[in-house]
Amino acid sequence: MAETRRHLVLWLPHLAIERLIRSDPALAGKPLVLWAQSGPRRLVTAAAEGVPVAPGTPLADALAATPGLLCLPADPAADAALLASLAAWCLCVTPFAAAVPPDGIALDITGCAHLKGGEAALLAWLTTRLERAGFSVRGAIAATALGAAALARGGAHGAIVTAAEQARAVLPLPLSAIRPGAEALEAAARLGLRTVGDLERQPRGPLARRLGREVIRLLDEALGRAQSPITPIRPAPPARRAIGCPEPILTAEAIGAALETLMQALCDDLARRGLGARRLTLACHRTDATVQKIGIGTGEASRDAAHLARLLAARIERIDPGFGIERLVLAAEVTEPLGARQGGFAGSAAAAAARREELGQLLDRLRERLGPRALWRLDPFPSHWPEHAVRAADPASAPREPPQGWGAKQRPVRLARRPRPIAALSLLPEGPPVRLGERRVVAAEGPERILPAWWKPGVQPGARDYWRIETEDGRRLWVFATRERGSPAWFVHGWFA
């Protein structure tokens, strides 16, 4: 379906240099050269405009030929990160954007061009924006991404060609425009092949043997005979809504109002498709070609616009609007099927589902303010050691069935997080305490000896002799004695009713 898609490619020929100038404006206009270590030599990777040094020249040669160069090390990782962030910013015009390392951005603009009033207007808008942000840009639109890239790199800046015209537009371009790789380029030069058209006129079999099959693929794609999809920086979210602002907005109130509109539209979309959102992100595209993002997750799939907007609204403060936000994109990144809700009688399955949804929303709200670790449930666990008889669990998870015999013994209703040492007096070496701190013990039941999990590796605490005791003022405590060093040491571990 090559003829149905439209691709826009932006080529940033001086990306590495312009990245440095953006971070340090004082470098603008200087004879700047970037180099990278290649084996024992330092090679020039990029040079500022007007500096007569070709990339690939040894740095020493360049310095000898052009004294006074300002040499800085190249940073390919930072360049790639910048390219990725620019590609992310381009998501404001299409959901499919790909970074094409080292210096290109490919956009699939099929069906998106009308947003800016046509393909020419869209291309002009993108180039103006990027130029204003300090980048030199060449752009072109064609049916295939590689065709558009060849046009952009081959000097046909601003070209917009249909699938039918593409071959004719690409044929006169120099061979380097399709980037066949250094070796293939050299081999082609030896054969006297300088343009794409020269390549096209050769018989394909021998050409593939001499230059490699890859070159044939590039040729077909550049001419629009074959199509390979671009690899977007992120898959298009299942549901997405965008709003453009006539004037850049700055205040939290304005963002909140836009968010409500977007959320309502998104939730309507989700309802039509029977989905609920688990993860939402709000991307704010700023006028300076950067993106600010906030996101939330929900415990259960939801498409309740008021609830989701309330969760996101709490984070609006974290957005730095800079010089203004011109476009907001709300996307449901993760969705789950969510059936239509139906009212029902109390006690019916429908009422239970509604209550579960309410509970999920309550948990989301609490978690948003108190933090994810503030909400928990203690699930029964088959262990006789008191500290391990329950385990903290996520309240949204399915509850665990209590194991056999769990909760049958007399156990305290509150447990100390760690046993509290207490001064106690007992008459017999193995007997119950008769005084506990300040208080007299009037009754004691026990002892119940609890052994640690001795079969597990590692150092285990000593055995404990637990007593349930009642003090003279009627309180009931769970105390234990350990005899690790001969004489018993007493601890309070819990409180009975």
Binding site: L359, L362, R369, W376, V390, P395, P402, V413, E470
Partner: protein, 238 residues
């Protein structure tokens, strides 16, 4: 009012009707404390869609009393406690008072956050009951919680373990429907090597539309219910 003195009954009925019109319909009336105590309480138990205070110095008996009420309320319950408190409600013990560990949601929050969390939890119809361990509240905050409980139809229990003595000396005004004090009583057995059944003294210090009262109760493990000891409570009540 131009009612004749003997028209008192009809006056009361009309007033009750007026009040009932303004009150939101409670979800399912009231949560029973115990068979023999409920008739003495306005509404036949602790009314849902309202908050109730539980005071007591002994953390164990207060916790168990709340746990018992949560299990009676049925459904999902939340328990709000300050984070990093030294001890925590322990499901193996609360299970003896009928509380299913799967139904208990623990929330760590203190201060402003705890008040906010309590309000959110009370307002949510998803929960049947909420226990919040809070310091003494001022009237406005308590009123806020009461309104939240009315909106959600949730039973709210405010647990103030260390406030027992202070409030006895000078009872603070409150927006709560009832105020209870739970104190442990020594077991009945009298034997030094047996504890016997759990016993408490329940003081109903304050009840809107009811009278203060006192009961001595024993926990019946088998029936999972509180039994009033008639001998002592009648005498104490006087």
């Amino acid at each position: 009012m131009t009612h004749a003195p003997d028209d008192r009954a009809s006056l009361l009925a009309s007033l009750r009707g007026m009040l009932a019109r303004h009150q939101p319909a409670p979800r399912a009336g009231a949560v029973g404390v115990a068979e023999e105590i409920d008739p003495a309480l306005p509404g036949g138990g602790l009314s849902r869609a309202a908050i109730h205070e539980v005071l007591g110095e002994d953390t164990g008996s207060c916790t168990a009393f709340c746990g018992h009420l949560l299990s009676r309320a049925g459904g999902q319950a939340a328990w709000i406690e300050p984070p990093r408190s030294d001890d925590l409600p322990w499901p193996p013990g609360l299970a003896l008072f009928g509380l299913d560990p799967a139904c208990l949601l623990l929330i760590d929050a203190a201060g402003e956050d705890a008040l906010w969390a309590a309000e959110q939890a009370l307002r949510s119809p998803a929960l049947a009951a909420v226990v919040a361990v809070l310091p003494r509240l001022d009237l406005a905050a308590a009123r806020r919680l009461q309104l939240a409980a009315e909106a959600g139809g949730t039973l709210g229990l405010l647990l103030c373990p260390r406030e027992a003595q202070r409030s006895e000396a000078r009872p603070a005004p409150t927006a709560a429907r009832t105020r209870w004090r739970v104190s442990p009583l020594p077991g009945r057995d009298g034997a030094p090597h047996r504890l016997g059944a759990t016993r408490w003294r329940l003081d109903l210090l304050l009840a809107r539309g009811g009278r203060p009262a006192r009961w001595d109760v024993t926990w019946d493990e088998g029936r999972k219910t509180l039994i009033v000891d008639h001998s002592s409570s009648q005498a104490a009540h006087g």
